[in-house]
Symmetry: C2
Subunit: 109 residues, 2 copies
DNA sequence: TTTTTTCATCGTAATATTGCAATTAACAAA
DNA sequence: TTTGTTAATTGCAATATTACGATGAAAAAA
């Protein structure tokens, strides 16, 4: 029915899925990459950088912020965004543990 | 319009997003985890293991297969699935490169 | 104060995703 | 052949996501 049955999965499985969804869209990937590349707060140039309409970027930023992967500071009329280091490291741990499952001993067809 | 504007992003950004979407749903996370845990081909018990209806599981398996992350062998009336090792390693490389962007020197607010 | 700048929010349209009942397809077993 | 088993496919309903124009809010600039 279009709604994910989160209740039948573990918290870990739901967390992995939530984080993965965060960079499951190229616009959010591009936003995060830009924040890493600039390596400091970014005030306002994300719209021209990415090439989507301002409300669309704002929406993607909101999702990333809700997940805690970025934070935003108001500076006058503009807002400066940057990676939330601590939460990024936490997210990375969760995803890495999933990606690094042992595959070497797999006895497959 | 509900449709992602893939044409304005790089191939790398689109690839990261595609792979991330693959485990952006807890059912697919659970399927992959089970395949890793069993560490061999799995024939048929995924439906009872995960707890979703058979057509739903079949659909998630199809997505993972289309992305190349798993492969399926027909064995009589049943189908055996397992991780596609080589493609999994490739996917891991792509995601890791994205996750491991340097954050230490970030000069943030 | 008025205007401008910058970003968030609202409302809406288009498309995508999730989930399942019903059916079909392919094969094994009787 | 008929029956049973297993998994894919079809069709559909419900919900989620993506994108943007229009508008609103807040602060700086004139």
């Amino acid at each position: 029915m279009g709604v994910t049955k989160t209740e039948i999965f573990t918290e870990e499985q739901n967390n992995i899925a939530l984080f993965a969804k965060a960079f499951g869209h190229p616009a959010r990937v591009a936003i995060l990459q830009h924040l890493f590349k600039i390596n400091t707060c970014v005030c306002g140039d994300l719209v021209t950088e990415i090439g989507l309409a301002q409300p669309t970027i704002s929406q993607h930023l909101k999702e990333l912020k809700n997940l805690g992967l970025i934070k935003g500071n108001v500076e006058g009329t503009s807002v400066c965004y940057c990676i939330h280091k601590e939460n990024w490291v936490n997210m990375k741990e969760v995803i890495l543990q999933f990606l690094n499952q042992d595959i070497t001993s797999a006895n497959c067809c």
